[in-house]
Amino acid sequence: MKIATEKVTKRFGDLVANDEVSIEFGAGAIHALLGENGAGKSTYMAMLYGMLEPDEGTILFDGKPVELSGPPDAMAAGIGMVFQHFMLVGPFTVAQNVLLGLEPAELTGVDEEAMNARVAELADRYGIQIDPRARVDELSVGLQQRVEILKALARDVRVLILDEPTSVLGPEDAQALFVVMRKLAAEGKTILFVTHRLNEVRQVASTVTVMRHGRVVGTCDPSADRDEIVALMLGESKPLSLTYAPPPRRGKTEVLRIRDLHAAATLGSGLRGLELSVRPGEIVGVAGVEGNGQRELLRSLIGLTRPEHGTISIDGHDVTDAPPAERTRLGLGFIADDRHGLGMIGGLSVSENLILTRQRRFTKHGLLDFKSIDSDVAARIREFDVRLSSPQQLIGRLSGGNQQKVVIARELARELKILVAAQPTRGVDAGAAHNIHSQIVALRDRGVGVLLLSAELDEVLSLSDRVVVLAGGVAAPAAARPWDRQAIGAAMSHEHPEAVRGSHDG
């Protein structure tokens, strides 16, 4: 089936996630969709599947405009989708998941054996190896992915949408998936396929579309030059907001040290033996596409998830199993990418959010000392130029950018030894970003170690003293200035063999 969109636009509030996207996908071929994090790929796919409704524009199946009111409409039209965030029912078996919604209504109950046989046969047909009786929540993510694919195949789709199917797969599993994809294409099915990995595009895709900031920025041949595609994806290098200056004093000891860290993933690769260290007075940038272990790294560092294996030490103290409070005391500060979930408490005021973690220090005779709190808060608000009507305002009512400023102001207010900053400038305007960047550099200059995680390569490159690429749950060797932008971009796209070492357990 041929599938196309004409000037499809999707907004989330002020954010334009898809901006007049017009693409056409021919039948019987594998189409790759490339783009940075947040480029709008998933949004686009979700509209094709009826999970989201476009604000403007038309979707055309076989040239005919369609209105999709929900996934059932898309399914009826022969479209199947494998989501980036899996949609599986944990306690169900593989077969139960694959045939969810397709169970025959029989008075004697669902015939498990028949279902298992049906799924086994389907899996065989496409050369997918899986036990139909296994419970899905006991499977590795790689196997769960196969379940997702089988789910789509069981519905006898004519179009299969795969949103980053390989981000959770090891190379062998990915190869196995490609075999299936080619087979499907050969049967005349249309395959839409999102990835961040260039080598995969070159292996299976017949067309490549690149998106950036919600727009289609180009289409090209998969055999095109690597650097050309990378350039399309990354766009022009943004003018740096700061001129880089080397750190004045870099300590010898390691203020943060991570050894052989393994952590299970809920999505993406998880961590598979990460080694990383940060010394006082340096900024270590972690470049990489989301889903390669960033989330697990951050949560292990904060102390919200317990790693499966490995150690983390802060300033020489082993904190692998320590609660967050202990880490805070040792001088860990963090800026979480998930601002609403971790970084702030929406139901508390700006002032309260600003003093959280220091509340015990602002206590006099058992009561909060509002005189010193107010002056401290006023100073922070001024310093970070937080735009608000009153410090008593709920932080949840601030604009996203101003919320971020508050979070950063709070973290920088403490005596830190190490700051972990994840997406520190996400959603803030250029001026504020500049301010945040200078604060981070000033912090470094005072001798604090900084671990900077960002999906924006430019941010990482402009601030960091050292850069590692996080891909497939391991950190690829550090690169040194001057950066080889293309090489780092390629490493992010799993082009370096080292970058995927150790990722065979999917």
Binding site: T328, I345, Q359, F362, Q393
Partner: protein, 416 residues
């Protein structure tokens, strides 16, 4: 309620002057509309249970005026009694003003006195339930905490035969301690084993009720010469002094309640522990990430919650009952939940809600005695009111309050 107002109407830099005025007005509409619906539901119940009115409606289409007039009369009679039963009647106040004296005062002010007597324990216990809510916990364990608190106050109150304020303070202190420990047990079970507080508190309610019966079966806790479960009367020194002489039952319990509300406010808004408690209640995950030990907060919040509920029960025992039986303070735990939800878990809200519920109790008694409409009419009205206020989305849809902001939910299902 003012507390919620503050939240829903927090000024905002980019909000226009117009919206700033609209939001508190919408909150007001929520309350007014909910009260109206509750009263209408009550009116329907009154009509349905009145055989006289039912008879008149049977020939409604022949003589509609008859049914309507009788209905209006009946409903104004019932609600009028409810109101005068709660706050007093204008004629009695007039009589008092014309001839101030003990008997006219008695008639004029006794409804208010009864309202305040009922309100004091409700406010304190309601604050207790609110404290748990603020930490993201649903304390359905009020009945158990109240039973143990009342028992403790009664026992300590008669054992200690000391000069006036001492037994009172010690009995109240002991009640808070016992209720606090009983509550802390719930917090600990949740923090340590992930057992959800709704289930553990319900089970502990039965355990507490039976423990009270057990305790009252011991002869050394029982009133001499009695075989039934009742403790001796507490000593004079352990009784809450009346505020306006012996003609009125109102006692210093209501002042204690106001003090408790002030303390509640100070604790939540002026202490680091309060800040941590609210942080955990709003977002456990973020609070934990910010270095707050949520387990300790759970235990502490449940201890405080249980302690306050027990204190409410102690006020009831020391102010009104002066002795403990298995039924004493039996409905306080659930009524406190109503107060907390109606007062939207704020200190001012709880005071207002406590007085409203207390007034409805005083008025409801008069309604049954004078008009024959069963007391439970007020329970029904309260339930509808709470349902609408605790689920603002319903009211929002009903009254088209598009600007009304909805507090994020504070309870999070079974996940510990």
């Amino acid at each position: 309620m003012a507390d919620t107002m503050r939240e829903t109407s927090a000024p905002n830099g980019s909000e226009s002057r117009k919206t700033r005025a609209v939001v508190p007005f919408q909150t007001f509409l929520l309350y007014a509309g909910s009260a109206l619906i509750a009263l209408v539901v009550g009116a329907v119940l009154i009509i349905v249970t009145s055989s006289d009115l039912r008879a008149r409606y049977s020939y409604f289409f022949a003589v509609p005026g008859d049914a309507i007039g009788a209905t209006a009369h009946r409903i104004s009679e019932v609600y009028g009694t409810l109101l005068t039963g709660a706050v007093g009647s204008p004629s009695a106040y007039l009589a008092f003003i014309r001839a101030p004296g003990a008997d006219t005062a008695g008639v004029a002010f006794s409804p208010i006195s009864e309202t305040l007597v009922a309100a004091a324990p409700l406010i304190v216990a309601g604050l207790g339930i609110s404290l748990a809510f603020r930490a993201g916990l649903i304390n359905v364990g009020g009945p158990g905490q109240a039973a143990l608190g009342a028992l403790t106050a009664a026992v300590v109150g008669y054992w200690l035969d000391l000069p006036f304020p001492l037994p009172l303070l010690m009995a109240a202190g002991a009640a808070v301690l016992v209720g606090g420990l009983w509550g802390a047990l719930v917090g600990w079970l949740k923090a340590r084993f992930g057992a959800h507080e709704v289930v553990t508190t319900i089970m502990l309610n039965y355990a507490a009720t039976n423990l009270v019966v057990l305790a009252l079966s011991f002869s050394f806790l029982r009133r001499p010469g009695r075989s039934d479960p009742i403790t001796p009367e507490i000593s004079e020194g352990a009784r809450l002094p009346g505020l306006f002489g012996s003609d009125f039952r109102v006692n210093i319990g209501i002042l204690v309640a106001i003090a408790a509300a002030v303390l509640f406010w100070v604790l939540l808004n002026r202490t680091p522990q309060g800040l941590e408690l609210r942080a955990v209640g709003q977002s456990r995950q973020a609070a934990t990430a910010l270095g707050i030990n949520h387990r300790r907060v759970w235990v502490g919040a449940m201890a405080g919650s249980g302690g306050l509920v027990a204190l409410g029960a102690a006020i009831h025992v020391m102010g009104v009952e002066h002795a403990m039986t298995p039924g004493t303070a039996g409905t306080l735990g659930i009524d406190a939940l109503v107060v907390a939800l109606l007062g939207r878990t704020g200190p001012v809200g709880c005071c207002v809600a406590g007085v409203i519920v207390g007034g409805m109790r005083a008025g409801g008694t008069q309604v049954q005695a004078l008009t024959g409409v069963p007391y439970d009419i007020v329970t029904c009205i309260q339930a509808v009111l709470v349902l609408l206020i605790a689920t603002p989305r319903v009211a929002k849809a009903l009254f088209r309050l598009r600007k009304l902001s909805i507090k994020p939910s504070t309870t999070h299902g079974w996940a510990a």
